[in-house]
């Protein structure tokens, strides 16, 4: 087993033992259920992470001649202020659902405007990408600063 996975598997197995011990030692069903849910999910999470890390194994690269290197930063979604603004809008909207229609309206407005701005921004970038000749520079580097799209 890979070293990175080992600690997670050990934690997961500890969680499994703790879950079983908790259920066995707890008399009331619902109390046992509450503890078992927490400990069980913890155990499963640790085991899942361990399994994911373990699934990456050492190989000879000539075994996979067609494999590509991991994607570089140019393939990652570019920076934008839209996600945090969207989060702010959703948070205000959720609070507004419970407490006041004013926050509901403000949150809703932020969500709609942010989504609109983000989509327009992305459509522009995609259009430029498709219009650019092969081998041309990435249009995201063209300096369009809209919505905090700074690509610093």
């Amino acid at each position: 087993m890979r070293q990175g996975a080992r600690i997670w598997v050990i934690l997961g197995l500890f969680g499994v033992v703790a879950t079983i011990a908790f259920v066995v030692l707890t008399a009331r069903f619902l109390q046992a259920a509450s503890g078992a849910v927490m400990l069980g999910v913890f155990a499963l999470s640790m085991l899942y992470i361990g399994w994911v890390l373990h699934s990456g194994r050492h190989t000879d690269p000539t075994d996979q001649p067609d494999a590509e290197a991991e994607v570089g930063p140019e393939h990652i979604f570019p920076p934008s202020w839209a996600p945090p603004l969207l989060a702010l809008g959703v948070a205000l909207f959720a609070v507004g659902v419970r407490f006041t229609p004013v926050l509901l309206a403000v949150g809703g407005m932020i969500i709609v405007l942010t989504l609109f701005g983000w989509i327009v921004q992305r459509i522009d970038v995609i259009r430029l990408q498709h219009a650019a000749p092969p081998g041309a520079a990435d249009p995201r580097d063209s300096g369009n600063p809209g919505m905090g799209h700074d690509h610093a």
Partner: protein
């Protein structure tokens, strides 16, 4: 409640296969979210274990809309699963996008049903402990469904940019992991809050 996608293996230039960063990041995020939600469910079970009457007097729950929403979310999960297979096995980015759109539409309808269901209950977050946990868990669950939809749009965006293809579909894999987690979470939330209650 755990995701079931198999992480991709990549041959790096050093000859060591490793889990793609985006996939590992989502796996860690999903696990932390699962532990977070487990605390809410534990609080629910504890409150129920101590209550003499459940649900408390005056509380009415109608699980019909929640059941339909859960069914739609399960169908959307099938769509997303097939979308990932489409790009992974066939390399068909257009087919992947079509299936992903199907999943998004189903999830949007489910999200609307969840919010309609929530707006119709006869208690608030401040009514009692039942209301507090019910509203907190439900709102957070719906927020995660919305998050999964946004994640799916990020995948579509990458597809429109021509980045996603058979040899590079890690973002689709990551989105599928999160999507299946959210669907499992929603179904579990529905079963615990509305059916078992």
């Amino acid at each position: 409640m755990m995701a079931t996608e198999t992480p991709e293996r990549h041959a790096s230039t050093s000859g060591i296969d490793k889990v793609p960063s985006v996939v590992l990041g989502v796996v860690l995020f999903v696990c932390s979210e699962a532990i977070f939600f487990s605390a809410l469910f534990a609080a629910w079970f504890t409150a129920r274990g101590r209550a003499t009457q459940w649900p408390p007097a005056g509380i009415e729950i109608h699980p019909t809309l929640g059941a339909v929403a859960s069914g739609l979310l399960i169908l959307s999960s099938v769509q997303v699963y097939q979308a990932r297979l489409m790009i992974r096995r066939e390399g068909d980015a257009r087919g992947m996008a079509r299936l992903l759109w199907g999943g998004i539409i189903l999830a949007l309808i489910a999200l609307a049903l969840q919010l309609i269901d929530l707006s119709g209950v006869n208690f608030t977050v401040a009514t009692n402990g039942f209301g507090t946990i019910y509203w907190t868990t439900s709102i957070l669950d719906s927020a995660h469904v919305a998050g999964a939809i946004v994640f799916a749009f990020l995948v579509l965006d990458r597809k429109w940019m021509g980045v996603i293809r058979r040899s590079n579909h890690d973002l689709m894999t990551a989105a599928a992991i999160f999507w299946h987690f959210v669907v499992g979470l929603s179904v579990f939330t529905f079963l615990v809050l509305e059916v078992v209650s």
